[in-house]
Subunit: 313 residues, 2 copies
Amino acid sequence: MHAMDELVRRIREKRNPSVIGLDTCLAHLPPKFARDHLRELPNMEEAAQAIFDYNKALIDELYDIVPAVKVQAAYYEMYGPAGMVTFSRTLDYAREHGLTVMADVKRNDIGATAEAYAAAYLGQTTLGEGKASAFCADFATVTPYLGEDGVLPFVRACEEHGGGIFVLVKTSNPSSGQLQDMRVGGRTVYEMVGELVADWGRGLIGEEGYSAVGAVVGATYPEQGANLRARLPRTFFLVPGYGAQGAKGAELAGCFDANGGGAIVNASRSILCAWKTRPDMDFAHAAREEALRMRDDLLAGLKAAGKEGANPW
Amino acid sequence: MHAMDELVRRIREKRNPSVIGLDTCLAHLPPKFARDHLRELPNMEEAAQAIFDYNKALIDELYDIVPAVKVQAAYYEMYGPAGMVTFSRTLDYAREHGLTVMADVKRNDIGATAEAYAAAYLGQTTLGEGKASAFCADFATVTPYLGEDGVLPFVRACEEHGGGIFVLVKTSNPSSGQLQDMRVGGRTVYEMVGELVADWGRGLIGEEGYSAVGAVVGATYPEQGANLRARLPRTFFLVPGYGAQGAKGAELAGCFDANGGGAIVNASRSILCAWKTRPDMDFAHAAREEALRMRDDLLAGLKAAGKEGANPW
């Protein structure tokens, strides 16, 4: 199976171009949930178990309305090896519920080391005469600072195992321009990286028209998003920065194709912590309400931009 | 304690500006060691245990002659959560033996997520009313593509906990120039990033004259290394690419200051797999011989460049 084809079809089936970011840590748990699941001085294993329980409750509540989850490795590594068990269990639980699973690991290294990362998240690890999976994701995020030596081992793993990657092109943070907006020759660094991403993905274009090699394009830079959209017609965008980071649906239409495809928008804290702004609801119900609100906001933005008419939905 | 001061003192005490890279995976184990430590079809836990046993034997053999080890996370993530247990145990075992420990994780993310990574490797994780360490390293490696939002959370963790980072500036791989050598304004991307690294580290300069914010500068580009050395007098360099990647001692003198300080050179496979070229020795003894040969090669290169005379060694 081609991971990007599968993602596109799930977005279409659920009529929802959004992905929920499970950046879960203890500080995001509602006080009642924390009281019920944790001692006052928990150890790493107990913390990691409570985080899995929270993720599980959110997946149970959201899997029928969202096509994908993105699991941010930093929040799991913070709890040591026990956190990595929860990371792995969360990926597995989401996949069992028919969700496309993105390991947001932003890995980058060279040669044999990049191959090891690709094996860890998208492929399999050789164990003597056998093989086994370390962390089972459909997609991993990758950083391009090392050039193609750091990316092609992931591309080869996509080819072999059917997974996909999203390469950082233009990120959502305030200082992303410090390097990415610098001009090299007649274009910016992020435009140049975008073109490299299109090149790297040229051999992996699926039936839905998009390559398994996608790009991360921050929601907080709508002009740059529209610019990249025009330049990279075969590149699917993972668009973080909605919600807590400030972007709204109407600003994001430029990241989508004329037919409303080609992008998926991530929100993390606004969903994980939806209980904070909906004190009358339990956390899972609040997350569902916020996920539905976000979906409708994105679809309204696409409609307002005239991108819904030709949409296959 | 200031991690860079400590590293500089250990280099001086052992008269050895080299760091051993523990990029250990099953394919690096000698056949006899693998037969003694593994079944034909090992599981992840057994593989991870064998890798720890190998690392332990190497540390036991090398800790009196080398100042530091660099542990490459990719090779441990490849074995799933069990691999992360071995990663953590390897860091701890090396620290217990008086070695400076570098977690080669090349992490990068923004805001709260970068803080989570910094907590995972250099700081502590909040657990209710308490705190605990996830992975205990003296240094972590960091990728700069996201700009300062992705680096300053690590710098703050260094300040708070006494650790250090090495930011990728000019990497050792063949395609590193694809992005890093592009010209932005009157300089290259890697020169620009080098200047940012110096800025980010300005508040963390230790008694030995170097900032806790260092730079990764590939051994395979000696001209660029000498260029950066001249531009960044307070920035300590982690120099990978010696040995298996092709660089030799005489080519590396340019990465060092006039007094022979300011850099540490990494070798991984040439040490881990020294048994391949020394079939008459057991693997640990072969690693020691290669580590001593490397040390002498580096010191001879410094001497030939006239950088030994003023050396505090």
